[in-house]
């Protein structure tokens, strides 16, 4: 289908981009990789007057080491995140999630920041990013601010990015040496997850010292399963011990009911997948 007509703006610096957004207000829409925005435009679910393309701003692209964190530019493609050595070393969970995100074509076009800004509750990056305690750097007309992960996802397709603001980069605290696993449950390979669970664990001997657990598609935003994390701490890496803690995964969630599953089924899956993800992350 054909989108409604729009004006196309291609800034080359962040300031130019912010200026364009300031000028056009709510008539403007930002395009990153276009993998979520273009279908929206083509189906005429949104009809912006102006589309501001971030593709020509080099500063938004790339991954750097920043002491106790790695920093991922918003315009870094899924493919680049997936294959980045810093990511593998310090935030392996992200690479695991990227591996199963969409298909190779989409991963070469779609961006890390675009996926997070899009805030699809079924999106694969929200849960791992939350689990790793990442922070979001958002720039606006009056400078930039840092948003904690827990504050970033506000609702269905809704984030803390305000009108006129841009997501610039994501700071991911290093989890060097942690085991990681992303357990994604789908019917066909190219699907968004019905439910997915992101887990990073630090083990000492045969015991889980610390765990981080994020849930995908178990509510209107990605969720962090704090109760599971707490219950896991200090447990041995055995199926039975982990099963008990994982059973708490669905606690307090409000998963959707749709063609792929009713809410009760999703709750059941959350428990099973959490157990499997923890065991896999712990190398059991």
């Amino acid at each position: 289908m054909i989108p409604t007509p729009f004006e196309y703006v291609a800034p080359t610096t962040l300031d130019e981009a912010l200026a364009a957004l300031a000028e056009h207000g709510d008539e403007a829409k930002v395009i990153a990789g276009g993998q979520s925005l273009l279908p929206v435009l083509r189906m005429r679910l949104n009809a912006p007057e102006v589309v501001v393309d971030l593709g020509g701003i080099p500063a938004l692209r790339g991954i750097r080491d920043d002491g106790d964190a790695i920093v991922i530019g918003a315009m870094t493609t899924h493919h680049d995140v997936h294959h980045d050595p810093l990511v593998h070393e310090h935030a392996a969970l992200l690479a695991k999630a990227e591996e199963h995100l969409a298909d190779a074509q989409v991963r070469h076009r779609g961006t890390f920041g675009g996926a997070l800004a899009h805030a699809d509750p079924a999106g694969d990056l929200g849960a791992p990013v939350l689990a790793l305690g990442a922070e979001f750097v958002v720039a606006g007309p009056s400078g930039s601010r840092t948003v904690a992960g827990s504050d970033f996802f506000v609702g269905l397709f809704e984030t803390a990015i305000a009108e006129g603001e841009l997501l610039v980069e994501v700071r991911v605290p290093k989890h060097t040496g942690w085991g990681a696993h992303y357990e994604k449950f789908v019917r066909v390979a190219h699907q968004w997850p019905i439910v997915a669970v992101a887990v990073a664990v630090r083990t000492e001997g045969g015991t889980i010292a610390e765990a981080r657990v994020g849930l995908t598609n178990m509510g209107s935003t990605p969720l962090r399963a704090h109760s599971v994390e707490e219950a896991l701490a200090g447990r041995p890496v055995t199926e039975d011990a982990v099963r008990e803690a994982a059973a708490l995964a669905a606690e307090g969630t409000n998963p959707p009911s749709d063609l792929n599953g009713q809410a009760d089924y999703r709750r059941h899956l959350a428990g099973v997948l959490t157990r499997r993800a923890v065991l896999a992350a712990a190398g059991a």
């Binding site: 289908m1 007509p5 019917r187 066909v188 390979a189 063609l259 599953g261 009713q262 089924y265 059941h268």
Partner: protein, 833 residues
């Protein structure tokens, strides 16, 4: 002219049976093809449809003023504006004389009967302008209650329930029955069932054939050029010839004034076997404005409005003796037509009616099908058309029977199937199966599959109570293909014949032009047909050009569907080629100064018996062209044609085996192994056959596991994009173990059988049988298609008493709310499996 003499002598190379790469692929893959949407004519205008968001509503007003005033808009037309000039979409197959058939105006002016129906069309100078203006058309509707549930619709009448078309007074379109006792082809099924209730086994099941969307790769597109003496329509259709006939019959434009061209067409699977409202509207707009116009649908429009497939409830009763010998079968269907009776939609279940007895010697058979109108997208042929439904039902039932008797699924099959020695065999449905060898196909399939080893593994896993259980599914299918003997079609009240036409023209330089009425849309006709002609005439494969898909070039034909192209169209080709050879013989005899009786034709050469004298086909072609020295009374032409009407269907068959793993904790299913051995008769091109089987398998497996068109309570298609309508990709299918055997068919010269639908027909029950087999020990005897993880999980969860995975001693459910399935078994022997 010496060109012909310099050609390499490839005549001896046998083409039939050779893995020729598809000659059309170079063009298709590198984009040197021409799809309908690529066609651009001078001054061409573009259409966009305004479609109803409601499943059922009265149109109370349409305001087009704003749209009309939009930039680059030429016209905005409503159903009122086009009136009778639109013609009508015709139903070519009234399956009974009293069939209730609602009038189908392509663009109605008073009432819409499904969500997506066109109510206005915008004509603009660009597709984008047309699309923009379409949003400005203001349509007012009064919503009416919609008939959506098939069972409720079937039960409704004027007083109770909701009618899809209130003026008709009923949703029931036609009730078609076949009874072997009445037909004299067998006994009385009801009596057999009554007997089995007393002293044998009765298996009663209700299966759901979910609604499917053909989802061809190329969305539909139509260009109509009304300038010139003939009106030319290019359309992404499977049926240019039938479409021309239908356009003429329904608009009053003389057939001779219409030319229909199907250029390269990107898939159909039956979904482009239609005379669509969009084609009719485009035709009407072009005539009205006197300008070329184009309409190309979006993918969303395609999923919503191009005809859907399947959508039946099947109530089945199988009677058997205690040892598993089947004594009778009763089949009662209701089939969803959607909002209108499509071109052959009513007949689709009838095409299956003859196949429920499948490869078996059932002594008694009763079939009935009630077709039902609802406020959903219309349904019609989808790969297999009627036969997948039949095969699914009987192959599922045979597994259920085996479970009831307590034997391996092959035991009941062997007990009941037609043995090799019994062919030709007249079935209880009245068909004569010419050939078949179910024994050796089965033997080979079991060997390749490692049947015994997998059964042993299944036992081990069951005993160990593994979380992931293994199931093995069997499907021993047959189908009738090669539509169809015209007399049979006539007896079924079908609106046309089933013959096919071909022509062969020897060109002066020795190359050959062939036309066929079977118009390909992805199958590889150009390659396979070239191989046949090359062998027959002894010319090089490269020297054969296959022309098709244009009613001015391949003037006669009945097009491509029902696995008919090779077995009917190929036979016409052989006959046309043979006529060319006969025409060439007197010329050869004359030039060689021999008697016609002494002329032998072999490998492209006309020789004089007992001598080394002879002339090549190309030399005769040149002589016929020059016509300087022809015998008296012989016309200077080596052209010929043939129209072939088959005398029988043909009956490919095969044994398909599938191993599925079922994760009892999540309900997730995973294919582990798939083996099939198909008997498709003589194989012209093994690579194409394999391709057809692979694609067919993927489609049949997809019905079992993934695809389903779902509507919400208001009649909106929920699975309206590929995010929700799950098509598999290569990432979701495994590497199939595909093999074939060749028992030559006796119903055509080449000995071929159809293969286009085989994989789709056979695979669906093999997969579901495997899923059920994996969890049958838990007390489960059915999962409704598609077998989603959630459905599998709920089935397991429910028998386990709503919690945990402790399933010891669980009983079979009698009514499974999650699947809506009636899971009753008449346990006359008190067996509790």
């Amino acid at each position: 002219m010496t060109a012909t003499q310099e050609r390499p002598d490839t005549a001896a190379a046998k083409e039939i049976g050779r893995d020729r790469r598809r000659k059309e692929d170079q063009r298709l893959i590198t984009g040197r093809s021409r799809w309908t949407d690529n066609i651009t004519l001078p001054g061409m205008l573009h259409l966009a449809m305004v479609r109803s968001p409601f499943a059922h509503a009265t149109i109370t007003g349409i305001d087009v003023t704003e749209a009309q005033a939009a930039p680059n808009v030429v016209a905005v037309l409503t159903g009122k504006d086009l009136g009778e000039s639109q013609g009508a979409c015709i139903n070519a197959w009234a399956i009974t004389t009293d069939q209730v058939t609602p009038a189908h105006v392509p663009m109605p002016s008073d009432r819409v009967a499904f969500a997506g129906e066109t109510v206005a069309v915008v004509v603009a100078r660009s597709a984008a302008a047309a699309r923009d203006a379409a949003e400005l058309v203001d349509v007012e509707y009064d919503e009416l209650p919609a008939a959506l549930d098939l069972k409720e619709a079937a039960a409704a009448d004027a007083e109770h329930g909701v009618l899809a078309h209130p003026d008709l007074g009923t949703n029931r379109s036609a009730l078609w029955t076949f009874d072997s006792a009445e037909a004299g082809t067998g006994g009385d099924a009801d009596q057999a069932i009554a007997r089995a209730r007393a002293e044998g086994i009765v298996i009663e099941r209700e299966y759901r054939q979910q609604r499917l969307i053909p989802a061809f790769m190329e969305p539909r597109s139509t260009v109509v050029d009304p300038t010139g003496e003939q009106i030319t329509m290019w359309s992404a259709t499977q049926i240019p010839h039938i479409l021309r006939f239908a356009l003429a019959a329904s608009t009053g434009v003389p057939e001779s004034k219409i030319r229909v061209i199907a250029p390269d067409v990107g898939g159909g699977f039956g979904g482009k076997l239609q005379q669509t409202p969009e084609e009719m509207i485009t035709f009407a707009v072009a005539r009205r404005l006197g300008k070329p116009v184009k309409y190309t649908e979006t993918r969303s429009e395609s999923l919503m409005t191009a005809h859907h497939g399947r959508d039946q409830w099947q109530r089945l009763t199988l009677a058997a003796e205690k040892d598993g010998t089947v004594t009778g079968l009763k089949v009662e269907l209701i089939a969803d037509l959607g909002a209108y009776v499509s071109l052959i939609g009513g007949g689709v279940p009838v095409l299956g009616a003859f196949m429920y007895n499948a490869i078996y010697k059932f002594p008694a058979y009763h079939f009935s099908c009630q077709t039902v109108l609802t406020n959903k997208t219309w349904t019609d042929a989808y790969r297999g058309a009627g036969r997948p439904e039949a095969t699914y039902a009987i192959e599922r039932l045979m597994d259920e029977l085996a479970a009831e008797v307590g034997v391996d699924p092959f035991v009941v099959r062997e007990k009941n199937w037609i043995t090799k020695e019994e062919f030709p065999f007249t079935t209880v449905a009245g068909l004569e199966y010419d050939t078949g060898d179910y024994e050796s196909a089965t033997r080979e399939a079991k060997d390749r599959f490692g049947y015994d080893e997998l059964r042993a593994e299944q036992r081990r896993r069951r005993e160990a109570g593994d979380r992931v259980q293994l199931g093995i599914g069997v499907s021993t299918f047959t189908e009738m293909c090669g539509l169809a003997p015209s007399r049979v079609l006539g007896s079924l009240n079908y609106g046309a014949g089933g013959w096919e036409h071909a022509s062969v023209r020897m060109l002066a330089t020795g190359t050959v032009e062939v036309t066929t009425g079977a118009s390909a849309h992805g199958q590889g006709h150009e390659t396979a047909f070239s191989q046949i002609v090359a062998d027959r005439l002894g010319v090089a494969f490269e020297d054969v050009e296959i022309l098709h898909g244009d009613t001015s070039i391949a003037s006669k034909g009945l097009d491509t569907y029902g696995s008919r192209s090779l077995v009917v169209g190929g036979e016409a080709l052989v006959r046309a080629a043979d006529k060319v050879i006969e025409k060439a013989k007197p010329i050869a005899a004359h030039l060689l100064e021999a008697s016609v009786d002494d002329i032998e034709f072999s490998a492209g050469r006309f020789g004089v018996r007992g001598t080394d004298q002879g002339l090549a086909m190309a030399e005769i072609a040149m002589a016929a062209f020059a016509a300087h020295n022809l015998p008296d009374g012989i016309e200077p032409s080596l052209d010929s044609d043939a129209t072939y009407d088959p005398v029988n269907f043909n009956y490919p068959h095969g044994t398909h085996l599938c191993a599925m793993e079922v994760d009892t904790e999540t309900g997730g299913v995973l294919m582990r192994k798939y083996t099939c051995v198909d008997d498709v008769g003589t194989v012209i091109n093994p690579m194409i056959v394999e391709g057809q089987v692979h694609g067919g398998l993927a489609q049949g497996i997809a019905q079992a596991l993934w695809e389903e068109a779902v509507y919400d309570d208001s009649g909106t298609l929920v699975s309206g994009s590929f995010v929700d309508y799950l098509l598999p990709t290569s990432a979701d299918t495994i590497s199939f173990d595909v093999s074939h055997r060749s028992t030559a068919s006796t119903t055509n010269t080449l000995g071929t059988k159809g293969v286009g639908e085989a994989g789709t027909i056979a695979s669906t029950p093999a997969v579901v049988n495997a899923v059920v087999d994996a969890i049958r020990h838990l007390g489960i005897d059915d999962i409704q298609m598609p077998c989603t993880p959630e459905r599998v999980w709920r089935a397991i969860h429910d028998v386990a008493g709503g919690g945990g995975t402790d399933t010891e001693g669980a009983a079979a459910p009698h009514f499974d709310a999650s699947t809506g399935m009636q899971g009753t078994v008449d346990r006359t022997d008190g067996a509790d499996r």
